[in-house]
Structures are given as structure tokens and as C-alpha cells.
């Protein structure tokens, strides 16, 4: 394995309403590249995470490329997923040895559309989605199962204000080899696993995919002193902490498509700021924690 360092991370402040995706991205990409100490020319690969369904516009990720500086032409990729999976693709790209530095960015503008109903479209299109359970209803099935199992209380039941709709963007620069000479937050392991799409085929109160991804990322080798969990709904923190063997963790629910990448960014910051020597970051995608990514970072 090639050692990969998180050189920099930037995100928009909460509460943004007036900026479009390109404007948000210019800020965070500019800040991430400046903080990385690298030049744009040294970045050999660019990959983004976003979802056209969130903004209700086809090819929104192409518009967003304006902010990435795609002239002269760059090697670029996109995942229709949270930016944490874009990070995974970038990390794999660095493992090939073809490039030494990558820019990852993500954006979501859920304030433009009915997020709860948009998320319905990720359900099984034949038997579940036609019933139109919205994201809150689906999450409540999971929370109810957790309460019935005696592992959560009524206070953990998702409220009407969930899922949290918030606009935002984030960017990160990672590097390996000589370009990582200044690196102080290192990715020691990263892995993601997915479970069955059918909600009825899963025990919604457990997250074996999180556990498996964590094991493969080396999370259980030694305890971590900082953890960042992506919990679109609050009760999911209970399931994730159990899967990861954590007593406490920082959690965040939004912005959609960004929050997972931002968890890795916050874990890296904890190391860069000297608050942690070993940190874990988690990202999720799909209904009821269907797919999970775990990244373990350490100080040099």
C-alpha cells in the first residue's frame, strides 16, 4: 500500500442559501488547494461526488467543473454518491502510482427540492418506491425497530424536521510520494461495503457493512481517540457506535452528498490540530445505512 496523506480540507459555513454550486465550490476548492501547498498543475486527478436528483438538474456536476480549473484539460471523474466515495476513488487512483496528488470535492443543494421525496427514488423501483414512503418514513421504520429491540428510546425517534436540508460544499487534497512530504494526517485504511437493497432482507437495527468496512480499514487494531460519524438521522448514531465499538463520537447529518467527505475532513483536522493521534471517519449512503465507508487516519 502507498501511504496517502490528507493535505487539506475546506468546507462552506452552514446556512448558505444564496450561492450556486459553482460559487460554493470556488471558495472551498480555492481554499483546499491553497492550504495544500501544491499547485493546480501538481494535482493529477480530480474527482467529485454529487447527485443530479438533489438539485433537480441534469449534468449539474459538469457545471461544477468550472470551479475545478479544467483548462488545460484535466483527468477527471465523478461519482453519483457522497464525496467520501469520490475520496475512495482518488485513493485507489493514487495506489496505482499513476498520479501523486488528487483533488476531491462534493456539493449538495437540497434546499432546491423536496429532499424527503427525492430520496424515495433510491428505493427498489418495483415494490417499494411506488408506495412512495418518504425518507422520514423509511428512517422511522428503522428507529421503530431499534426502539422495539430495546436499544433506543422514544426520544431517538426521528422528528418532523429530519432529514436536515442544508446546502454546502467541501473540498480536500490528498497526496502520496514526494508530494506528501508535508503530510501530517495519513490514511491508514479505507474501505466501503454495501448491504441488500431490500429493507426487509436486512436487520435494520444492525450495520454489518459498517463493521466489515471498519475491520478491513484496520479500525479495530487499536482504539481511536477521535471519531466522526455520518448520521442522516440521529438514531443511526446508536447503530453505528455499536458496530464500531465506540462509546462517543462526533456526528453530522448534512449537507447531503457532502457530509461523508466532511467527516473524513474533520477527522483529518483533529489530527492536523494535534487533538488526535488516531481518528476514524464514517460515511453512509442509501436508505437505513445501506452502504457504509470507514476511513482510519493517523498522525505521522
Amino acid at each position: 500500500m502507498r501511504d496517502v496523506a490528507v493535505l487539506s480540507f475546506a468546507e462552506t459555513p452552514g446556512g448558505i442559501r444564496d450561492a450556486d454550486e459553482t460559487e460554493m465550490l470556488f471558495e472551498v476548492i480555492g481554499a483546499a488547494i491553497a492550504d495544500s501547498g501544491l499547485t493546480r498543475r501538481q494535482i493529477g486527478f480530480t474527482v467529485s461526488g454529487s447527485c443530479d436528483f438533489v438539485v433537480g438538474r441534469p449534468f449539474s456536476f459538469v457545471t461544477a467543473l468550472d470551479a475545478a480549473g479544467a483548462w488545460p484539460p484535466i483527468a477527471e471523474s465523478h461519482v453519483e454518491m457522497d464525496g467520501a466515495w469520490a475520496l475512495h476513488e482518488a485513493w485507489v487512483h493514487l495506489q496505482t502510482g499513476e498520479v501523486d496528488a488528487a483533488l476531491i470535492y462534493a456539493f449538495g443543494r437540497s434546499s432546491l427540492g423536496p429532499l424527503r421525496d427525492v430520496l424515495t427514488l433510491q428505493l427498489d423501483p418495483y415494490l417499494v418506491a411506488p408506495l412512495r414512503p418518504d425518507a422520514l418514513a423509511v428512517a422511522r421504520l428503522q428507529a421503530r425497530a431499534l426502539i422495539d429491540a430495546g436499544r433506543a428510546g422514544e426520544a431517538d425517534f426521528p422528528g418532523d424536521d429530519e432529514p436536515l436540508a442544508e446546502d454546502g460544499a467541501a473540498a480536500m487534497v490528498i497526496a502520496a510520494g514526494e508530494l506528501a512530504a508535508r503530510g501530517r494526517a495519513w490514511i491508514r485504511g479505507i474501505d466501503h461495503r454495501i448491504e441488500a437493497q431490500s429493507l426487509g432482507a436486512r436487520d435494520l437495527t444492525r450495520s454489518p457493512s459498517t463493521k466489515q468496512a471498519a475491520a478491513r480499514a484496520g479500525a479495530f487494531a487499536r482504539p481511536v481517540d477521535h471519531a466522526e460519524l455520518h448520521t442522516p438521522f440521529r438514531h443511526q448514531g446508536i447503530i453505528l457506535r455499536e458496530a464500531l465499538g465506540l462509546e462517543t463520537a462526533h456526528t453530522a447529518a448534512a449537507p447531503i452528498m457532502v457530509a461523508g467527505l466532511a467527516r473524513v475532513g474533520h477527522a483529518a483536522r483533529a489530527i492536523l490540530d494535534g487533538r488526535a493521534g488516531r481518528a476514524l471517519a464514517h460515511a453512509t449512503s442509501g436508505p437505513c445505512l445501506q452502504q457504509n465507508l470507514v476511513c482510519v487516519l493517523e498522525a505521522a
Binding site: D20, T22, E27, G56, D66, G69, G113, A129
Partner: protein, 156 residues
Amino acid sequence: MSSITTPIRLEFEVRAGRDLTRFLAGIAEGRFFGRRCPSCRKVYVPPRGGCPACAVAMAEEVAVADTGTVTTFCIVNVPFAGQAVKPPYAYAGVLLDGSDIPFAHLVYGLPVAEVRSGLRVRADWAAERRPTMETILGFRPTGEPDAPPSVWKAHV
């Protein structure tokens, strides 16, 4: 059973960003404005979050004329669903005087066969000016002599 039908309808809001909001406010006043890239000095109309070529945030706000030069164009002869204008009509890139990036819009007021690169045009404003692109109905010839290729060649 070979298929099922499950109608889906989602409603989204279209909300312009900071620069486009400013641009549309100018349109409502009958004015074009762009922004100049601090690095390559090009003026973009409409302005965008930054310069996509230099990847830097735009700085200076620049007033741009409502006259310009046709760079490239196409004659639309084919009808399609939702078409707002009856074919044949010309859709052209218009390089507004004082800007560096062509602006795409309808060109009319002359036979479509006479639309050409270098044609000098002026914006045709709707009587009621609102902050939407429909406030610019299109572009009409000014009657000036054609601009030389040095003006438009780089944009073809």
C-alpha cells in the same frame, strides 16, 4: 406482466446564485453586466462564480454594451417539442461589445440566409423588463458595416 407504470413528480425551485442574481437584476434595468477575470482579464457575460479557465474567483464588475457581433450561428429548420419560435430561425453567438465570451441568443430582423459571422446586432428589449432572460427578446441588425474577422474569428 411485462411492465409497470409508476408516475413520479418532483418539484424543484430554480434559484440563481450570487452573480446570476446580480446579472438578472441588471437585465430588469435594461443593462448587461459581466465580471473580469483578474488572471486572464477576460470579461464573462453572464458572470459566473469564477473564471473556469483560470479557476480563480472573479473580481471587477464590468458594464457591457447591448450591442455586439455575431460570432457563429446556426439556422434551426427542424421542429421539436417545446419549441418557442417557428422555424426557420437563427440562433447565434453574440459577442457583446466589451465582453470576451459570446452570449447565445436569437438573431432576427433579416432573412435567416443573411445571418453571418461579423454581423453587428443590438439587443431587442421587451417592453416590460423583468429579471428574466425573456426580457431580451433577441438581437436585431444595427445596420453598421460587418465587424472584421479579427473581432470574431477566435470565437468560431
